[in-house]
Amino acid sequence: MLSYLIRRILYVLPVAFGVSVICFMLVQIAPGDPLTAIMPVDATAEEQAAMRAAYGLDKPLPVQYAIWIGNIVQGDMGKSIATGRPVAGEVLVAVNNSLLLAFSASVIAFPIGLFLGFLAGYFRDTLCDKAVTAIAIAGVSVPNYWLGIVLVIIFSVTLGWLPSMGAGPGGSQDWHWDWLHMRHLILPAVTLAVVPIGIVARTVRALVGDIFSMDFVQALYAKGMTRFDVLRHVMRNAAATALSVMGLQLGYLLGGSILIETVFNWPGSGFLLSNAIFQRDLPLLQGTILVLALFFVFANLIVDVLQAAIDPRIKRT
């Protein structure tokens, strides 16, 4: 197990390096200019050149990358061009807010998805299975930003039960686990949970169905086990794959919520990212993408390790 763990951690290093290169280069491809955000549109060419030099944007790309990665290794992600604030602080606050949203959505999505998936897999080809499949397909297919707007219209605008935007009455830095703040979380978390509910339910349904058709299940029945005991074995067999899907979904929830965070004005990493894209705020963009990508890499690492712990077959490979 230890050698597997070390090997798996070492794999992360080249991936992280690759991710950093891609993060840096990707944002350079898009046309546009980060200085637009910090200078009046009619600033003179001379003033623009001076500002470009001040931010080191006049240097060749490999030099810019070397400086950037050198600073990152030392824990300095630079300063946002648009706001002048340190990128690390901005990303930390935003990722923290996104984590809050992602975990809340996971708490809603994973148990429901697992439950529905097992239900459909166990009662395969019944009305129950068809109903769950319909829910799962709807969950995956409905554009979640549209769903978000519809939920806002119903629960905020028409009924006035829940707030439509923001992370609490005093902003995210004033977050408390009380009803006044948590009510801000409900609509975005529910909207964000819809896709993973569908994906987890579909995956688990297929898994459980397949496992039930395996020979060992017949053998268990032949040994005289109850249906409940057999289900326990099936669940254990399905757990590793289900965990891997949920790990990927957690990564998706953290990084893939740009639209949801925009609809609900949630001050998370997706919101930060979309603003950074429009402003061509390169340091902020690179920093945010890097942190999210590394989060994804580490989420996968944790899932792999957990899988190995659950499923002895993995350790041997």
Partner: protein, 543 residues
Amino acid sequence: MRWVDHDGETMRLFGLGRTSFIAATAILIGGMAAAQGTLRVGMTAADIPLTTGQTDQGGEGMRFMGYTVYDSLIEWDLTSADKPSVLVPGLATEWSVDPADTTKWTFKIREGVTFHDGSPLTAEVVVWNLDKLLVETSEQYDPRQAAQGKSRIPAVASYTAIDDYTLEIVTKTPDATLPYQLAWILMSSKANFEALGKDWEKVAMAPSGTGPWKLTSFVPRERAVMVPNESYWDAGRIPKLDEMVLIPLPEPNARSAALLSGQVDWIEAPAPDTIPALTGNGFAISSNAYPHNWTWHLSRAEGSPWNDIRIRKAANLAIDRDSMGALLGGLMVPAKGFLPPSSQWFGTPTFEVKYDPEAAKALLAEAGFSLENPVKVKALISPSGSGQMLPLPMNEFVQQSLAEVGIEVEFVVVEWNQMINLWRAGATDPASEGAHSINFTYFIQDPFTGLIRHLSCDLIAPNGTNWGHYCDPDMEALLAKIRSSFDPAEQDAVMRETHEKYVNDALFLMVTHDVAPRALSPKVKGFVQAQNWYQNFSSITMD
């Protein structure tokens, strides 16, 4: 030339007798007694504008973080909705230019003004603020504020504090537009900067200006809270509210939903298609003409079809602007010129900008084109962008209108940030892909931003913002005369003459003007929307 402060008028008012004095006192006390309520504003910006003095985020930044927390020497009059906004004394009570040397200006600094931290405003502090933007070796030089402010005062060569309340500014060349330039420059507190360890990042969290509002708390990207400055120097502009909260809400649907669900009381720029829902639910839409335009800036580079005045005039006659109004929920002023018809500088152009497709076709026929043989033009447009209104449907409307008279438009669509770069690069830059026009909305509030910068020969891109490479000796003479007319009335007359030339020569495709719509909760009372990019929030109360 001399400007006189409000105070002079106030004294004369008191001179009218005791009745006026009692009435004025009663109004003041009544206003103070009504002081209550919090106004929560949903801005279109994605972040709280820079708080240290010179703001970012364009017009919205100046509106909410500039003229609220800070003052400039000379300010815009924001008290009237009915007439064009003009310059009035701010932190300078009067100013004059030396008739013998018109580069030399003297400003009398308002006495008794204090910053929010209690320190006094003096001429020396004004000098310190100008150094903050212009002198890179000064300890208070702030690249972020300089990036915003330096290009606004290109005329300034040097400045000196003659005494505590007298400031002298010398310009590089005689330039009568200096008062307009200074209306951009906001004064931060030197004492506050020093008390916070001479660190602008710390000042950003606890800024100090002389303005009617004090910033009390600030969470980047989420909210800023302001309270009234009870000792503001202009008693008439002491805010009546208890608190004003600014919330960045860049997504238009999120802004409307926040207003409809009662999380904010005021939103900037509601999307036109949400306006029926807003008014149907009792929300008020406030709008007014202001110095903004939505045009196609035409290329006058060699080979551009727009070099032919007949084609330019034909295009201006081809657009049914009233029908376009339906697209925008009626929230527009159809263009009659480059400046809005209500502008003090509109003048009396002889070419009437209107919808007359037959006249347009006749002009095109004269130029050798017809529906069967259309003139072909390439147009740079962007699907979104600050102040661009609804660029895609509006541009498609223009494209269709022009096609109906014999002008075939091919669009080059680029994202807004890149559009700004292409605008700076100019019509002949290869990145502009040979486009013959660029759809760019303009802030046209003062002589420089309104008229000079678009067509001045020495500002041809990339050196300046004359995107279309236009250069004409008659226009050049007019622009020079604007800068050398030190009598405001005479300067206004030259401005009108210049604008008449803009229109008579059909130098732009003049389409429409925005009306700065904002949606307000029925609880919001007392707002007067000035014909300006900035607004006064002091008169507002909440029911």
